[in-house]
Amino acid sequence: MLNPPPIVEQTMNQDNQIAIKYTDLEVIKNESGKVVLNHNAEKFLVELLNLKDKVEETIELCKGEIKRCMEELDDQLVSVNTDNLRIMNRVYGSKYKLDTELIEHLDKKFYTVKPTFYLNTKEVDEYIKTTDIIPTGISINNREKQVSISLKKSNDTK
């Protein structure tokens, strides 16, 4: 017999902080394993994943609003630091991009060529299967199983 899913309460308290009951999250954690034996127990996890999506979506909306406010105040402002937050509005990633199709026109001092190695897993599998020997230069990764859970989209038929 399954317990009814806990309601994860999100409320604004007097200090305008979002309050989430950690006790509800603890209940969800304890009940989550039941989904393996009874698919009806999915309610707990669906609730949790919906909450995660909502929080992540809200964080992204906050970032957009913060960016708008920073640029409105001063478009030269790149960071705001409070007691517990460091907010940055700056560019990330490489400053320049290399167009390999035009590489012959580029002076060699502007780039470095590095070899890239790709492992041919199918060939290695076949070699080990026929010889029972791991080729020199190859080792087997110690991989651990990991659980993944995700919400199905409405048009997700898989």
Binding site: D75, L77, V80, D83, R90
Partner: protein, 221 residues
């Protein structure tokens, strides 16, 4: 005992009294730059700075000094932020440039700082070179100066790092909200780093500067 508000750059509602150091200990007089170098493990740089050893000026340091002089001049003349540091050339209300303050940390350590510009409750730190203002804002400089200012009777609420990269002619700024919490952390950091450096000097018989005076700062009646 003498009163000396002018030397200490104190606001009008504060008075200072200079007294002889009763413990007769040599005072360890240190600054943010020295303590920052010490905290990062650049011990040799920190000691050289403390002992005021002549340092050969590279082009970066020379640029920094020249820009600071120029910006101080522009602010004093125009009462607005220089164009390189602020596209809008914001008008300032009551700017105080190169504001030098010093406070006792305990009976043997004194902390000194020169604030690039204080305008009412906004503390400005000017930077040149290629390091972004956001990187400077990861440090504790304006927090330490905020503590220094608050102990000297000022009440800063915001710190602004204004950075001009002269190599690409770009400006960026970082805002730090100067709260009691940050001041407390800065105070603890100053105490920890300066005590550690002081103990090193004592242990290794390195010379301490010895002004042999202490300041008492209080609200004027």
């Amino acid at each position: 005992m003498t009163q000396n508000n002018e030397k200490l750059n104190l606001p009008n509602d504060r008075k200072s009294t200079i007294i002889e150091n009763p413990s007769n200990l040599s005072l360890f007089r240190t600054s943010y730059s020295i303590l920052n170098a010490w905290s990062r493990g650049n011990y040799s740089d920190a000691i050289d700075m403390f002992l005021k050893k002549e340092k050969e000026l590279n082009s970066y340091l020379k640029d920094g000094i020249d820009f600071h002089k120029k910006w101080e001049y522009v602010i004093n003349q125009t009462k607005q932020l220089p164009k390189e540091l602020d596209r809008k050339e914001t008008k300032l209300k009551n700017p105080k440039c190169e504001l030098k303050l010093e406070i006792p940390i305990n009976d043997h350590i004194e902390f000194v700082g020169v604030i690039d510009c204080l305008d009412e409750d906004i503390l400005y730190e000017f930077k040149s070179g290629s390091m972004s203002s956001a990187d400077y804002a990861n440090g504790l400089q304006v927090d330490c100066y905020s503590y220094l200012l608050s102990m000297s009777g000022y009440n800063p609420t915001k710190g602004m790092y204004l950075h001009y990269d002269q190599y690409v002619s770009k400006t960026d700024k970082s805002l730090v909200y100067l709260t009691d919490n940050r001041r407390q952390k800065a105070k603890e950091w100053i105490e920890k780093q300066s005590e550690s450096m002081y103990q090193y000097f004592i242990k290794n018989n390195l010379p301490l500067t010895s002004p042999k005076k202490l300041y008492i700062i209080e609200v004027a009646q």
